[in-house]
Amino acid sequence: AQTVTQSQPEMSVQEAETVTLSCTYDTSESDYYLFWYKQPPSRQMILVIRQEAYKQQNATENRFSVNFQKAAKSFSLKISDSQLGDAAMYFCAYRSSDQYNFNKFYFGSGTKLNVKP
């Protein structure tokens, strides 16, 4: 099974500043997908951004962008111009592109992000 590691259990950022959440993963596969999910206090899991491993260009969704370093097996999430509504638990996830395992997701333990006004 793949492993996904989020080494920062909790982080804080000042409103309007930038913060980066770290994620590393372990895999022997060459093609796969990576995701960041946000879980606000409501508990609803929300997909924030996805990255396809065969694409070298880093994914961007508005204020959210990733830094994907395939050789280092690193997938960090950068949140720019942080807002109070960004306060949440963030989970990194991995999915194989293999035809037999494409349906299996592996999640990290999460990083709780606090946003200070």
Binding site: A1, V4, Q6, P9, Y33, F35, S42, R43, Q44, M45, L47, R50, E52, F91, A93, R95, F102, N103, K104, F105, F107, G108, S109, G110
Partner: protein, 114 residues
């Protein structure tokens, strides 16, 4: 929100009692999942289903069983609840957007076993 509902949303039960959680989806997705979420562990897969009556175990399946008699419903049963099964339980489906497969989650069920 991919049309996923979970019931109940909250439940308190006593050790040794059976508990069934229900996940319902309205969009005919083939794959459905049950996860539990605990502090420091993230989301851990309990069981998943790849069709009616087709299920398989995840990494933390001990003490849990599942059933899927209809495409839209996936049931998670704790045959005899224990305090270690106090957790938040999430149902998910595998949705497809173009060539991308992504998981979409229900709102979660908070279960407390006393």
């Amino acid at each position: 929100d991919a049309g996923i509902t979970q019931s109940p949303r909250h439940k308190v039960t006593e050790t040794g009692t059976p508990v069934t959680l229900r996940c319902h989806q309205t969009e005919n997705h083939r794959y459905m999942y049950w996860y539990r979420q605990d502090p420091g562990h993230g989301l851990r897969l309990i069981h998943y289903s790849y069709g009616v009556k087709d299920t398989d175990k995840g990494e933390v399946s001990d003490g849990y069983s599942v059933s899927r008699s209809k495409t839209e419903d996936f049931l998670l049963t704790l045959e005899s609840a224990t305090s270690s099964q106090t957790s938040v339980y999430f149902c998910a489906i595998l949705g497809r957007t173009g060539v991308n497969y992504e998981q979409y989650f229900g709102p979660g069920t908070r279960l407390t076993v006393t």
